[in-house]
């Protein structure tokens, strides 16, 4: 009996300080790593010409910001990712909906898309450069290609997993195919679509870096290759930090949108273990 009552009391005690602290849990590991690095570099354990101290990276970032360079690179990268992601996702939604709804379209298109999907996206790079030059177009196309498949695949799976029983309700009301798509199929496939969009966004950032490493005069990826060529690890790490922040912010925005659009969902949220 004694043991039982002890077990019951403990969670209550934990709960009192948990809410404020729980939010900070995620910061613990990165802060510890940063502090360790700073100490190791300052203490001379790590050579600073290879591993700059976190404070030095911060200085590099602030000098980039002060000269206006930072904004030039950021805006170039943001435009590329934005355009590529939007084009790739929009095409994937159109084609994915079509293939998802029509078995005929599936018979014609699915094998081709499966084959195309098997090609690593980066294999297209030489061809894109040959055809489209080293301008903005090949970069946007590469990012769009990367964003296309995750959206297409999850939307297709989402549509094919819709409960037939809900579709029957639409049939009872005599819905035509456009009404059925708009009122039942798309809302029901929305959770899968968002999963695809989030995967596509992270791939879009990945292919942005690839495109900018290959040929660019602006952009966060250019900072990476510039840092390597001028032997400035602080610049490389500053660019990596920028990519992390941009990726995190854009994913959080998409997540926020997802949470709003799918507020009706009755899904498992994870337990407090």
């Amino acid at each position: 009996m004694r043991e039982l009552s002890l077990q019951a009391r403990q969670p209550a005690r934990l709960r009192r300080w948990r809410p404020s602290l729980a939010r900070l849990r995620g910061w613990l590991v990165p802060l510890a790593i940063l502090a360790l690095l700073e100490g190791l570099v300052r203490g001379g354990v790590l050579p600073s010409h290879q591993m700059p101290a976190p404070t030095q990276v911060l200085e590099t970032l602030s000098s980039l910001a002060a000269s206006g360079e930072l904004w030039r690179h950021l805006s170039a990268s943001l435009l590329r990712v934005g355009a590529g992601f939007a084009i790739g996702a929009a095409l994937a939604i159109l084609i994915g909906t079509w293939v998802g709804l029509s078995r005929r379209a599936e018979a014609y298109l699915e094998p081709t898309f499966q084959a195309l999907r098997a090609i690593p996206i980066l294999a297209w790079v030489p061809l894109l450069l040959l055809w489209l030059g080293i301008d903005e177009t090949p970069k946007v196309v590469l990012i769009a290609l990367g964003a296309f498949f995750p959206v297409y695949l999850s939307l297709l799976a989402g549509i094919r997993n819709i409960d037939r029983k809900l579709v029957e309700v639409g049939q009872l009301h005599g819905f035509g195919s456009t009404t059925l798509i708009r009122r039942i199929l798309l809302p029901a496939a929305l959770p899968s679509l968002f999963t695809g969009l989030r995967g596509a966004l992270s791939l879009a950032w990945m292919f942005l870096v690839a495109a900018e490493l290959i040929a660019a005069t602006r952009g966060v990826g250019y900072l990476l290759s510039d840092g390597r060529e001028t032997s400035r690890p602080d610049l490389v790490i500053a660019a990596i930090v920028l990519l992390a922040v941009l990726g995190k912010i854009s994913d959080s925005l998409l997540k926020l949108w997802e949470a709003r659009a799918l507020h009706w969902r009755d899904a498992y949220q994870g337990g407090e273990v």
Binding site: K165, L166, E168, V169, Q171, L172, H173, G174, R183, I184, P187, A188, L190, L262, W264, R265, D266
Partner: protein
């Protein structure tokens, strides 16, 4: 009086397996018919044929031209599961057939009828099983149907909720003058609700027997007449090797 809905000599097979053979029934205005039979006897299939969801059958489905009048299809259907759209509120689900142009007053009236006035803005996931089924009943009534098709609509709720929902359906069917075709495997339910009980059984299934229930509503679930009729039905089910 002419029938609202008539099934004439329905035959249905899945692949090579014959499920229904020569089943006919007529549903008159204001009448409540229960189709009683064991699981897998094809009674739900018969209802899906009547609802127009299954068109792959032999025989005839005749709907009274009066049913096609007005806005709705004249048929309301309630399934075993509520089948509410999880992304719509309860009120939006009730007016689902009309979407944004749904008649808000009529939706509110229906929600009051089924006792869900306070839940209009709730999402389906916030409802209990019984409440969700009430919402499904309200949705079926939105098109002002003259025929309600019920496919084991109370089988997934607890016994007490079931009794309340049965009462609700009887009351609403009388208030709005709706004929009901109820599919069930529950003897109590069949006899408590209906004017006629049709027993479906055998392989392939045929109509084995029809038992009239000449009792006025409201009925007493404990009455000796109901118990006697249930006994008759049980005997029939035993004889047709359904149980």
């Amino acid at each position: 009086m002419s029938a609202l809905l008539e099934l004439k000599s329905i035959h249905k097979a899945y692949g090579g397996r014959r499920v229904l053979e020569d089943v006919s029934l007529r549903l008159a205005p204001g009448e409540v018919i229960a189709l009683l039979g064991p699981s897998g006897c094809g009674k739900s299939t018969l209802l899906r044929i009547a609802a127009g969801l299954d068109r792959d059958f032999a025989g005839q489905l005749e709907l009274n031209p009066l049913l096609q009048f007005g806005t709705g299809s004249g048929l309301g259907v309630v399934f075993q599961e509520p089948r509410l759209m999880p992304w719509l509120t309860v009120a939006e689900n009730v007016g689902f057939a009309a979407g944004r142009r749904a008649d808000a007053d009529w939706v509110a009236q229906l929600l009051e009828d089924v006792g869900l006035s306070g839940q209009a803005r709730s999402l389906p996931r916030q409802l209990s099983g019984g409440q969700a089924q009430r919402a499904a009943i309200a949705r079926a009534l939105y098109g002002r149907p003259q025929v309600l098709l019920l496919d084991e609509p109370f089988s997934a709720v607890d016994a007490f909720t079931r009794m309340k929902l049965q009462e609700l359906v009887v009351e609403l069917a009388r208030r709005y003058d709706i004929a009901v075709l109820l599919v069930t495997h529950d003897l109590d339910e069949a006899f408590y609700l209906s004017d006629r009980v049709l027993i479906l059984g055998g392989t392939p299934s045929r109509l084995q027997r029809e038992i009239a229930v000449p009792l006025e509503h409201p009925r007493d679930r404990r009455s000796a007449e109901l118990a006697y009729l249930r006994g008759e039905a049980l005997t029939e089910l035993y004889q047709s090797h359904a149980i």
